[in-house]
Symmetry: C2
Subunit: 410 residues, 2 copies
């Protein structure tokens, strides 16, 4: 894409009420816009990143036999009353229609997916089933100060699994862990698995936490053996001995990027979701749920991958792979840059081409702020050697490469 055609521009400042680092950088670089507290618009660059994260997630969910569906945000009050969560979930947005019908805006979808799946389960032969969706959720947060890490409206991938017995559930739960690690790795996030509160019916759930000083969560962690518990459930203090290996426990700030949760029969019981076993006997279905917020993942990537100049996108999730920059506006430079741009497009390499008539300083600052992995500069100086200058965003050093060799290099 030509940058002169991109309707967004970088900004000197984020809104004053925006205190989170992720949203400040994403707003200044033109990836998102803040509509109101906790509510953001994805601009072309931001939507591109969001879609890449969604694609990575989708691929891994399909690999663990997830079937994609799309449930609505509007859901009838009756469904939430059946589990008692209409009054229990304090962040549930509630809506009333002209005809006084009441709905919740989905903050999660167990109340919808459980009766849905119930329509299609009769016998043990129908199990296991795993379904997922990528869809926008709503939470009436009292405070929304973490940018796209905790929005009032946010994008979510939620998978729900249905099993005939605990053993089958546990095998699937382990598979989902591996899928989650694959996702975070592909997104450039080093996520640790952490034990967390399992609610009233399971000892533990598991969170995937990315350690960073800007995190909202506190994790008690043993570097040696990997023991990790959310401080909500952990009595250990910094310096205490690890219960597994006697090494010293550290405390880490972290961002929760995913969560997997054994649901046992909590929702199956509420919605009478059962199946007939081999002997024709009714048995309750065992469920699990598995969440990752793609928008939260985007925010986490920014929290982890940035420097004082701007964002540094990992290649898999970058809005473009290459940022091609022309310096100077002689016919020769424009022709060479236009030509190279066409070659990238033809080769299927995603390229943002800064063809604007702006000074070098503006173009370099914008490029560092936007954070595309590879910057390629064409100028009088490089053209004199039939070359371009290539600099990875994450590195200090640039290298001079012949124009004829650049496409094959990518």
């Amino acid at each position: 894409m030509k940058q002169s055609k991109l309707f967004t521009k970088t900004k000197k400042d984020a809104p004053k009420d925006e205190v989170s680092l992720n949203a400040q950088l994403l707003i200044k670089a033109g990836f998102i816009d803040k509509l109101t507290a906790g509510v953001y618009t994805y601009l072309p660059l931001g939507l591109e990143v969001l879609k890449k994260v969604q694609k990575i997630i989708r691929k891994e969910m399909n690999k663990i036999d997830g079937q994609e569906i799309l449930m609505p945000a509007l859901s009838p009050k009756e469904n939430w009353e059946q589990t008692g969560r209409w009054n229990e979930i304090d962040v549930l947005f509630k809506v009333k229609s002209q005809t006084d019908k009441e709905y919740a805006l989905g903050a999660t979808h167990e109340e919808i997916v459980t009766p849905l799946i119930g329509q299609f389960i009769n016998s043990y032969k129908d199990l296991p089933i795993a379904v997922y969706q990528i869809q926008d959720k709503f939470r009436d947060e009292l405070r929304a100060k973490s940018g796209i890490l905790r929005g009032r409206e946010f994008n979510m991938k939620d998978l729900y699994s249905f099993h005939a017995d605990q053993d089958d559930f546990e095998k699937y739960y382990e598979k989902s862990k591996q899928a989650y690690f694959n996702i975070f790795q592909a997104c450039g996030l080093d996520a640790k698995i952490v034990e967390a509160d399992g609610g009233s019916f399971s000892k533990f759930s598991h969170e995937f936490q990315v350690f960073t000083e800007y995190g909202e969560d506190n994790i008690k962690y043993c570097e040696k053996c990997g023991f990790a518990q959310n401080e909500e459930i952990c009595d250990l203090k910094t310096g205490d001995k690890c219960p597994n290996c006697n090494e010293k426990i550290e405390e880490k700030k972290a961002i929760e990027v995913g969560n997997i949760f054994p649901l046992k029969t909590k929702f199956s019981d509420a919605f009478k979701l059962s199946y007939s076993d081999k002997n024709g006997k009714k048995q309750p279905v065992i469920m699990g749920c598995y969440g990752i917020g793609p928008s939260r993942v985007v925010g986490s990537i920014v929290e982890v991958h940035h420097d004082e100049k701007g964002i540094i996108w990992p290649e898999n999730v970058a809005p473009f792979k290459v940022h091609l920059i022309s310096l100077g506006n002689s016919d020769k430079i424009i022709a060479a840059a236009d030509d190279l741009y066409k070659k990238f497009v033809q080769a299927g390499i995603e390229v943002l081409y800064d063809d604007r008539d702006e000074p070098a300083g503006v173009k370099f600052n914008d490029s560092d702020l936007i954070g595309i992995p590879y910057r390629i500069v064409i100028s009088e100086k490089t053209l004199a050697k039939d070359s371009i200058e290539l600099k990875p965003r994450a590195e200090e050093k640039a290298e001079i490469i012949k124009i004829s060799k650049i496409i094959t290099k990518f």
Copy 2:
């Protein structure tokens, strides 16, 4: 995909309160589920169709320089008060937060996109701009009896264009018409352009209407010259003379599948959206908006393309291209069908493989109901001739084709 793995099943009946033909067929065939009046879940087959329609739309919007963004559903009351539509739009769902902040659930997005674009427009050089999104909208409809043609929550593509003058707007408006015709043609819909109410500020807007006896709209139409007006704005009666060509006017029932609307400066004025012209003088921006509901398009396709046995998907939007059906469960048949299935998958041809242990009647009925364009049957009879039976869903006659030739045929 193997049909034995698909968690949905076809149903004998749709819910009793579901009176629309599109939703009845889509529910029975397992494409959607009705959560409550006007609110539906897209099941795997239905989501696949919806995504194909969205992909067709996206391609045409990109071709007319639309830049994709994603605006939120939650939008602050203040934005709607600025245009007077907080109280004017009777179908606006309103939500109040714990802290008494009021939001509308987006029924349309002029109130959000206009100030957004205002952040990026200074001079005439920044124009024109066209942005679009594909996103779920909400309307508090008094009655929701048309299935996915008119839901309380529904998928929408809305594009907004911004121009320096009326002339530039009109050129873009004409380009958008062609893009819309391309979209409907690719979706198998024969849409006519119809003049409709232009609101208080334009003489006409334009609707794209598909003639069908199940339509909600009434169109006064001249077959000879193409004159067409929505009866809302037309005084002509059936049999009256066409004002253009003197031919007789007919009345047609129709479904509105798209709408394009000159907005002049209505929203630019409300949000003070202006630019500096070549002389440095402030000028208001001219706007247009352009809507297509992908979920409504899916419903319209079903209303138009079906018979008494079920849906007949046009190829471009079908969930799969081929429905491969094995009849009988001898090792020989299973091996031959499994082998052909693998070949289709390897060739990148989308195939649903009915590998279930069900009688021929059940499989044929399901196949007709689901409506995949090509049915391929492998049975003892066809295998005796090293062949399969190929039948297009839309035709009566089947043909016998050698197995060795079937992949190249597709």
